[in-house]
């Protein structure tokens, strides 16, 4: 079976024959984004075209999802004020406030 590689209907939803319930809203740094029930935070961010939501501790380099299966800890984000959440594992929930995590995400604790 051949398919046109440019066929834009080949979305993850189509491939999985998924018929999810209606989308809800989460935010990244206050900006509203749609998310689907069952989607991870990382999947929702990717679906919105966002690839980076953390900066590294030392050099402030951008990071997002890498392995996507919870192993590499690259996709850490601050979710509802809790830093170091693996965005690829945390299910998105209505109203979740995701914030770009800078470094450890706990600069407020520094003494």
């Amino acid at each position: 079976m051949s398919r046109n590689p440019r066929d834009t209907s080949r979305t993850p939803l189509d491939l999985a024959h998924a018929t999810p319930d209606p989308a809800f809203e989460i935010t990244l740094d206050g900006r509203p984004l749609p998310a689907l029930p069952g989607q991870s935070v990382a999947a929702a961010l990717w679906a919105a075209g966002i690839l980076s939501w953390r900066t590294t501790r030392r050099d402030g380099r951008p990071r997002g999802a890498f392995c996507g299966i919870g192993s590499c800890y690259d996709c850490l984000a601050t979710v509802n004020s809790r830093p170091n959440q693996r965005a690829c594992l945390v299910p998105a929930r209505p109203g979740d406030a995701v914030t770009t995590q800078e470094g450890t995400g706990r600069a407020d604790l520094a003494v």
Binding site: R57, N84, T104, R106, A107, L109, A110, V111
Partner: protein, 381 residues
């Protein structure tokens, strides 16, 4: 670490050194430690004197390897949790001060908070030890070995200690062949008793297991090495039963390290959830901020423990050519440079050291660490 320091000072004394290790660098006790360089937990006596000398040597080494070994002269803070505990701690600190330790009494919760803002409220006081410091032990061992210029033979296990007809050591045997040498230094840490046995003598080194919890990386939330006063009693205890006391410190890399447990369970490597639970709870009591922090991983290892809590250092009178440098318990990284210097001196007849020799009082000190002091194996040649 002790072996690396012996190699470093021996090579610096002009000796040709080969380091044989059945594992990788820092693959045993060194890699399972926290890299503490402490004077605060030692009562006056030979070990404290050795620690004070080592503290000075570590400062010199840190100037030689700036930053690469993560040397942090951050100081220690011992905290009492009760008024009675504070009195005992003060008395202990007074004796240490007389022995040459720099320390100052910290009075009341406010003064404690000025030093460590995240400490639990309401603690009666403590003692501050500015001489306490820390290194990253694996890096420190690796850089000392590299700087020594010694030939490294890693992944090669000593299977025999070779001895001549007169009983004197003349090298070691490994699966790769015989390595001839007029002197063999046993720096096998917790496994030092096995090397001693191969050389036909005895050294009663026993393992004392300890766990460390590693938190997720944090900004600096703990400035010093901070621990509860009962830790000192735990260190000095000879009990086989489990002892835990909160020992908390930040690292240059970010994670906070949480210890310390002591138990004599042989070389049992199984994970003890009960120990981890106790360590986490005690750390949270000392630093409530840690209750909201995730522990990423844990590690554990075996402190090399001799019956009188002192290391065995120097020429072993029972076997000519055999030198001991093991049994430092939980203080091996801290005591390594002074041990290396003592061993190098013993190997060269007293000329080793940055200033051409050991400090005044060294001969008395060396007497306390005589390997044959346990009265076992005497006469075995």
């Amino acid at each position: 670490m002790v072996g690396a320091a012996c190699a470093f000072y021996a090579a610096r004394s002009g000796l040709s050194v080969v380091v044989v290790d059945r594992g990788p660098v820092a693959g045993g006790t060194t890699g399972a430690g926290e890299g503490n360089l402490l004077v605060s937990d030692k009562e006056p006596g030979p070990e404290l004197d050795l620690a004070l000398l080592s503290t000075r040597l570590w400062r010199e080494l840190a100037e030689e390897f700036p930053e690469r070994i993560e040397y942090e002269p951050k100081g220690g803070l011992v905290v009492a949790t009760t008024g009675h505990g504070l009195d005992a701690l003060r008395t202990f600190a007074t004796t240490q001060r007389e022995a040459g330790v720099t320390c100052q009494d910290i009075e009341g919760a406010d003064a404690l908070h000025d030093l460590e803002p995240h400490l639990a409220p309401g603690l009666p006081g403590g003692v501050h030890y500015p001489q306490d410091a820390q290194v990253q032990p694996a890096l420190a061992a690796a850089h000392l070995l590299r700087a020594s210029g010694a030939e490294l033979r890693l992944g090669e296990e000593v299977t025999a200690v070779l001895r001549g007809p007169d009983g004197a050591v003349r090298g070691v045997r490994t699966p790769r062949g015989d390595l001839l040498a007029p002197a063999v230094v046993n720096a096998a840490g917790t496994w030092g008793g096995q090397i001693a046995a191969l050389a036909g003598t005895e050294l009663p080194v026993l393992p004392r297991r300890g766990f460390v919890l590693v938190t997720e990386p944090l900004p600096r939330v703990v400035r010093r090495k901070v621990y509860a006063a009962d830790y000192v009693a735990d260190v000095a205890s000879g009990s086989a039963a489990l002892q835990t006391s909160a020992v908390v410190e930040g690292t240059a890399a970010g994670p906070v390290l949480i210890g310390a447990s002591r138990e004599r369970v042989g070389f049992d490597r199984s994970l003890s959830v009960e120990v981890l639970r106790r360590l986490a709870r005690q750390a949270g009591e000392l630093f409530p901020v840690l209750k909201g922090v995730r522990v990423m991983r844990t590690y554990h290892g075996f402190r090399p423990y001799l019956p009188d809590h002192l290391p065995a250092i120097g020429a072993d009178a029972r076997v000519p050519g055999l030198f001991q440098a093991c049994g430092h318990e939980g203080a091996g990284v801290g005591l390594a440079p002074a041990t290396g210097l003592f061993v190098a001196n013993a190997l060269t007849g007293g000329t080793a050291g940055p200033s051409g020799g050991l400090p005044v009082g060294a001969p008395t000190l060396a007497e306390a660490f005589r390997p044959e002091r346990f009265g076992v194996g005497a006469g075995v040649v």
